[in-house]
């Protein structure tokens, strides 16, 4: 029992960076823009967060800075894909390359430094609930913030007017324009917010999780987040499930290794990736059987205003 609680708690912790990136990408993709640059954004966020925490010693500021820089960098993607109608796959790949390169170039002198980072703050009362308290309420503020964010995004998407507009622009930007809204602006807004959230996910890794900067420390989590969006069928609640499942596989694999089993580490490290493929396969098979999903109809299709003279 004790072991299971520890693993579940670790699953929440290591799932949180993926969760932030996934939530961001859900917003971006719901608006019809696909951002494959999450990996690069996470790295940039991780570096920005770490650097800010190192210089100022203020973790809150570090997270805010990561968000701001994530927003700024995804402006490139938004400009290319929304304003110029460029190929979103290529632009996303370019963003990942750029982010990987820039973070490793700028971070080369920060390797080996450590920061205090964010500390775990058990929530009063809630943390004393057996099992659930240990698993969910013995973490740092960013984990709690992610709980609120999930509920907020779900409410935003499915209850509010603005959420309806967001989904509409992802399904048919022309209709959105015909009712007097600006599809270009909407797509910009959600691409930038999504990028900022991915950067927070990255900052979680460096500021909270490891408290260090490591070259290419996101290690494919950005790509897993891209896959999780499909796993979650663009629903924030299911994103939580996916992110923690992934965190759990990672945590479990560390446990198995620590327990000194004879299974070699590289084979265990493959598990999350094989698991992603398996999950995608199951989802796609269900889709084939006609189960309706939340995929934005105009995902990846550039919006061009009709010519008027």
């Amino acid at each position: 029992m004790e072991v299971i609680v520890t693993i579940l708690s670790a699953a929440v912790r290591s799932g949180t960076p993926i969760l932030y990136a996934t939530l961001g990408e859900i917003l971006t993709e719901k608006s019809g823009v696909m951002n494959l640059g999450l990996e690069g954004l996470m790295l940039i966020g991780a570096l920005t967060g770490f650097w800010t925490a190192l210089v100022t010693g203020n973790p809150a500021l570090a997270i805010a800075a990561a968000f701001a820089v994530g927003v700024a960098v995804s402006t490139i993607h938004a400009f290319l894909c929304v304003s110029l109608g460029a190929n979103q796959v290529v632009s996303g790949l370019a963003l990942t390359m750029f982010g990987t390169g820039v973070s490793s170039l700028l971070g080369r002198e920060m390797i080996g430094e450590t920061i205090k980072g964010l500390r775990a703050v058990p929530v009063p009362f809630l943390s004393e609930i057996p099992v659930i308290g240990k698993v969910l309420f013995h973490h740092d503020v960013l984990v709690y913030a992610s709980y609120f964010l999930v509920v907020f995004i779900a409410w935003f998407l499915y209850v509010t007017r603005a959420g309806l507009n967001l989904k509409a622009v992802g399904d048919d930007p022309h209709v959105v324009e015909s009712v007097g809204l600006n599809p270009v602006r909407l797509r910009y807004v959600y691409t930038l917010i999504g990028g900022g959230l991915a950067a927070i996910g990255g900052a979680y890794l460096s500021v909270v999780y490891t408290k260090m900067w490591g070259d290419q420390m996101s290690a494919g989590r950005g790509w897993i987040a891209v896959a999780l969006v499909i796993f979650a069928v663009w629903h924030p609640m299911r994103a939580v499930l996916g992110a923690y499942l992934f965190g759990g596989v990672g945590a479990l694999q560390l446990r198995i290794q620590a327990a000194g089993t004879s299974i070699p580490a590289p084979l265990l490290l493959m598990l999350p990736y094989l698991f992603t493929i398996f999950v995608l396969l199951v989802i796609s098979m269900r889709k084939k059987r006609g189960i309706v999903l939340g995929a934005p109809a105009a995902l990846g299709v550039p919006y061009q205003r009709e010519e008027r003279t």
């Binding site: 494959l36 109608g85 790949l93 370019a94 750029f98 390169g101 490793s104 896959a227 493929i277 796609s284």
Partner: protein, 357 residues
């Protein structure tokens, strides 16, 4: 005064733009990198000179550029075939590793002391392994519409960890003093090299593939089917062209070719299997294919340029002590600018005065 911007789609892209767009993009990318370097207190002039001299300043440097052109061109062709069908094979990196793994397996378990036999065996094993790896993603895509970008990408990580498993585990050379690598390949399993350089016969394979790509796509039935599906999948479907068959086939071929690049890397160059055998050739190949607009000769030319960037990056690492991944900054920036220039290629931009009567 009020102005309006009107976009007009061009019927034909003028020749000077075909040439100017990539050149201006590269210049702008270098300019932005220079600004970044200045902000790091690194002299961009010295950095770029170090890169240029490393890559093109000597015959040795130039031969090294050709060495890097080999895997880039082969993988460029590999991914270009699938891109023609609008199937995004992002998995060339993993397919390189699989090809290398299969090559090492042949050398370990089926070694024959004859180069021609070994060459055929290694080529076949690599192609089979890579074809299988690509085919998985192709089948999942064709049968259940599983997003191939994600599957090929995830398979990259699986392939890299699989390679790690073998070089850290059962295949590790006991004489390597604990380094994760296999024993060096015997002579008959090494590809011949040109004179005193490290340029191996892979360059011939690359050239043959460039030619084959042209011939197959332009003059064969299969090439026509690929292009038809890529241009308009619905129309191709009505015409009775099977998406399932072609998607699997194109991914098998794509994976097999990329794997051959992996074979060349270890049998031609490194002479043993070790982790990190590819510094991201599979990902760079995606840029190569895209920048070359899937045109075979351009793929070769762009590979040469990217090869120069890699060699330049290596000397940047040695001379300026900058990480090798710094060149990814330049690669990313080039892509950004080319993506932006695409807009000016496709549209003619008019600014008109709306108040003038």
């Amino acid at each position: 005064m009020k102005y309006r911007v009107i976009l007009e789609r061009r019927y034909q892209v003028p020749l000077h733009l075909e040439f100017l767009c990539p050149v201006i993009s590269i210049v702008l990318a270098l300019a932005v990198s220079a600004v970044l370097l200045v902000s790091l207190d690194v002299s961009p002039v010295r950095a770029f000179l170090a890169m240029w001299n490393g890559a093109f300043g000597s015959w040795w440097g130039l031969s090294e550029v050709v060495v890097k052109t080999i895997p880039l061109a082969i993988c460029g062709i590999a991914v270009a075939i699938s891109f023609r069908m609008k199937i995004w094979n992002i998995g060339a990196e993993g397919q390189i590793y699989l090809g290398a793994l299969a090559t090492a397996a042949v050398v370990r378990y089926a070694y024959v002391d004859s180069f021609p036999v070994m060459f055929v065996l290694m080529l076949a094993a690599a192609a089979a392994a890579g074809g299988f790896w690509g085919g998985i993603a192709g089948y999942l895509k064709a049968r259940w519409n599983v997003n191939e970008i994600i599957t090929t990408l995830m398979l990259n990580y699986v392939a890299i960890h699989l390679t790690d498993y073998f070089v850290y585990g059962p295949w590790r050379d006991p004489a390597s003093l604990g380094f994760p690598m296999t024993a060096p390949f015997p002579e008959a399993a090494r590809l011949p090299v040109l004179a005193d350089t490290r340029v191996h016969v892979g360059i011939l394979i690359a050239l043959v593939l460039v030619l084959l790509y042209r011939v197959v796509l332009r003059w064969t039935r299969w090439g026509f089917e690929i292009r038809a599906i890529g241009e308009n999948p619905k129309a191709a479907d009505y015409a009775g062209i099977s998406f399932l068959k072609n998607a699997v086939l194109v991914m098998v071929v794509s994976g097999a070719l990329a794997a051959i690049a992996g074979m060349g890397e270890i049998a031609g160059l490194q002479g043993r299997l070790q982790p990190g055998l590819s510094p991201g050739y599979g990902y760079t190949a995606i840029i190569v294919a895209w920048l070359a607009r899937l045109n075979p000769w351009s793929i070769f030319a762009v590979s040469f340029f990217m090869g120069g960037l890699f060699v330049g990056g290596e000397s940047l690492q040695v001379v300026m002590r900058l990480p090798l991944s710094s060149i990814q900054v330049i690669q990313g920036l080039i892509l950004f600018f080319v993506l932006a220039s695409e807009f000016f290629r496709v549209y003619r931009i008019h600014i008109i005065n709306t108040e003038a009567g």
